[in-house]
């Protein structure tokens, strides 16, 4: 009874902790350099703009964003700052573009007195959201190159005659690092997975599963045949977190077949609900989740596949936000390789730290109440996973 009460408490605490899961803050910019003119096209997701400005009315949001962008998107050259030019009619210096219902678009023209030693500065949003990323594309001298603007890299110097250098793989590696560290569901899942490690061999399986999931996602993205349905994939990752919790519980209670039945049954109930609200894709995803849960909970030795599935889905986190950037398939794969490598390395670091800490505790001969620790962790995973699943399901 005490155990149940503790688990319920953990569920509540876990649900509150779900608020940590933050929405990604991204924007897209295209810089076109032609002679002494620099054209900037800037795209900002509506949700990011509304979060930034706290205004729900599009007209007011656009008006405020125009002033904000003029202050935070600038171009400098050997002849000093390049002013944004008035575009005539009653447009002013920032022309709002029609780029679809989910994005705000703006265009600014800068005229430089001296087009040498151009410097593109993008400081928009980094003060408000330090983790913000701007996926930029620079077109110059007939070449188009993908670049990144981040809080640590807000200025880009353009060479006068040579081609603009491409962003280093390390930049995308850093993105992958940051992505795992700032996504609560990712690192909680990875740390939870460590609880399934019982032998040295299991640790190797875990690491291999993490890496193989990310590698597989790169391969699938490289084919260019499928796109993830966001945020449904995020909801499914919540389901996998909960399933991990259920697997840990099942392992602790090998004779109790309850988790193997109850969790899939609960998911089937959700399938019915999703079917009732006429969301066929969500119903398919949940049905798949129910079948996977039944399979994994009955055949626990396949737990590395669950880990691989999680990291495989996480591998689509970057392609899911790259659509409006209109980058070539090749560029996207290159970016994803860096990103996934970074995510893999940080995941391994987290796993290594957790295993190292456990080995240290064992070496010090500290006795932990293993059963209750496992129960608390499993309950936390189930609570958080269920919360993320329900909050993100559409």
């Amino acid at each position: 009874m005490k155990r149940l009460a503790l688990m319920a408490l953990c569920l509540l605490a876990a649900s509150a902790g779900g608020a940590i899961a933050q929405e990604r803050s991204v924007s897209y910019s295209t810089w076109i350099v032609a002679g002494n003119m620099v054209t900037l096209r800037y795209l900002l997701p509506v949700s990011v703009a509304q979060r930034l400005l706290g205004v729900e009315v599009p007209v007011l949001t656009i008006g405020k964003l125009e002033d904000y962008l003029l202050q935070h998107q600038t171009v400098g050259s050997a002849g000093g700052d390049c002013p944004a030019i008035d575009q005539g009619f009653d447009l002013g210096r920032v022309d709002p573009l029609a780029v679809g219902p989910d994005l705000y678009g703006f265009e600014i023209f800068y005229r430089c007195k001296d087009p040498r030693q151009l410097r593109l500065r993008n400081t928009a949003l980094f003060n408000a959201v330090p983790g913000h990323v701007d996926f930029a594309r620079v077109q110059m001298n007939g070449h188009s190159v993908a670049q990144l603007f981040t809080a640590r890299h807000q200025e880009l110097a353009l060479p006068d005659t040579q081609a603009v250098p491409t962003t280093s793989l390390a930049a995308y590696l850093g993105l992958g690092f940051g992505h795992v560290l700032t996504s609560a569901d990712r690192w909680i899942f990875l740390l939870g997975a460590v609880l399934l490690v019982r032998r040295r061999q299991d640790a190797a399986y875990l690491v291999a599963a993490v890496a193989s999931g990310y590698v597989l996602s790169v391969l699938v993205v490289a084919t260019g045949r499928v796109l993830p349905r966001v945020p449904r994939t995020e909801a499914f990752m919540g389901l996998l977190v909960a399933l991990l919790g259920a697997m840990i519980t099942r392992r602790e209670l090998p004779t109790d077949s309850g988790p193997a039945l109850r969790w899939p049954a609960l998911l089937l109930l959700l399938v019915l609900l999703a079917a009732l609200v006429r969301a066929p894709a969500a119903a398919w995803a949940l049905l798949g989740g129910a079948a996977l849960s039944a399979g994994f909970l009955s055949w626990q030795v396949l737990w590395p596949c669950l880990i691989a599935m999680f990291t495989f889905l996480d591998g689509f986190a970057l392609p899911a936000v790259l659509g409006p950037a209109q980058l070539s398939q090749r560029t996207q794969v290159r970016m994803l390789m860096g990103f996934d490598l970074g995510a893999t390395l940080i995941a391994m670091l987290l796993i290594g730290l957790a295993i190292g800490a456990w080995l240290l505790i064992r070496a010090r001969r500290v006795v932990l109440p293993r059963a209750i620790v496992n129960d608390v962790c499993a309950a936390t995973l189930c609570g958080l996973g269920s919360f993320w699943l329900l909050m993100r399901l559409q």
């Binding site: 009619f89 009653d90 447009l91 022309d95 709002p96 573009l97 029609a98 780029v99 678009g105 265009e107 260019g224 045949r225 499928v226 796109l227 993830p228 349905r229 449904r232 994939t233 499914f236 894709a281 969500a282 119903a283 398919w284 995803a285 949940l286 049905l287 798949g288 989740g289 129910a290 079948a291 996977l292 849960s293 039944a294 399979g295 994994f296 009955s298 055949w299 396949l302 596949c305 889905l313």
Partner: protein, 308 residues
């Protein structure tokens, strides 16, 4: 081993517990894949049949190209030279690029000319099905009967407008009452057969200068006489003399020499006009019907103090 015994053996195998989980996982992967992923849109790398070019993945129809070539060269498509075709295609691609740019710049929201053109375009599209229908003679005649007044020939008048001045330097002692008595006598004599010259000389009437010497169309008469005198003149028939009419410059008498009243034209003579008016009326009806529908579906909020 028979089929049945094979199934029995499979079911009685101790590993059977592995079969179902494996099936569940495989089925789960497929179902989850269907729900979590969608096919990426494939970019068109070749121009599909029926199109002449793709501009940013947007197709230019071959039929439009053919029509444009024939319009610009005034030749049949087959007779147009390769150079002419290339020139027209280049122009069409340029136009498509500009249109795409206009859409991105949201010109319908910012440029009045574009808004006006779009409004005309929508009205034209709404009216197109109505205009495609050829009305029968019976329908045209019914329309003509409902709006006969629009098909009348204009009337004309030949008249004399005489005035007996009041209060002028040449007739300073003449009062309005005296002038009206004289005018009534003059009218009596004119109606009795006295000549116009005699009456003018005897009573001191002068031509008012408002009426032309010869025949004038109705609208011109109205313009010259003014509303008050025209209202009287329009009721007079050939040879009739009006009652005295007091105006600002004196007392008037109108003598109608010849009055041709407006006449409604026969349907057969104005059929072409009726046809055009019918189409125009139908087109207007379709556009107002469309606007009513759009308004019924729209959410329109007016600022305080504003009305439409």
């Amino acid at each position: 081993m028979s089929q049945v015994s094979r199934v029995r053996a499979l079911l009685s195998r101790p590993q059977r517990t592995r079969v179902l989980p494996a099936l569940a996982i495989a089925g789960g992967l497929v179902a989850a894949g269907l729900g979590l992923f969608r096919a990426a849109p494939k970019p068109l790398l070749a121009v599909p049949p029926g199109y002449v070019a793709l501009v940013n993945q947007k197709g230019l129809l071959f039929n439009d190209f053919r029509a444009q070539v024939e319009l610009e060269t005034t030749k049949r498509f087959a007779d147009a030279t390769a150079v002419e075709r290339s020139r027209v295609l280049r122009e069409m691609i340029n136009e498509e690029l500009l249109v795409q740019r206009a859409v991105v710049l949201d010109l319908p929201e910012t440029a009045n000319e574009v808004r006006a053109t779009m409004a005309v375009g929508v009205n034209g599209q709404v009216a197109a099905p109505v205009l495609a229908y050829e009305p029968t003679d019976a329908e045209l005649r019914a329309f003509y009967d409902k709006s006969r007044q629009n098909y009348s020939t204009p009337g004309s008048m030949t008249l004399h407008d005489l005035v007996l001045g009041v209060g002028g330097y040449e007739n300073a002692n003449q009062t309005a009452a005296q002038a009206q008595i004289d005018a009534a006598e003059a009218v009596y004599q004119l109606r009795s057969g006295a000549s116009l010259d005699y009456v003018m000389a005897h009573f001191g009437f002068m031509p008012s200068g408002r009426a032309a010497a010869g025949e004038e169309l109705d609208f011109a008469v109205k313009l010259h006489l003014g509303a008050q005198l025209y209202a009287v003149a329009s009721t007079l028939r050939d040879g009739e003399v009006s009652d005295p009419i007091l105006d600002t410059d004196g007392v008037h008498i109108i003598v109608m020499e010849r009055h041709q009243f407006p006449q409604v034209a026969d349907f057969s003579t104005v059929r072409d006009r009726v046809y055009l008016d019918y189409r125009s009326a139908e087109s207007n009806r379709a556009t107002s019907q469309n606007l009513r529908l759009l308004r019924s579906q729209a959410s329109i909020l007016l600022a305080p103090g504003q009305s439409e």
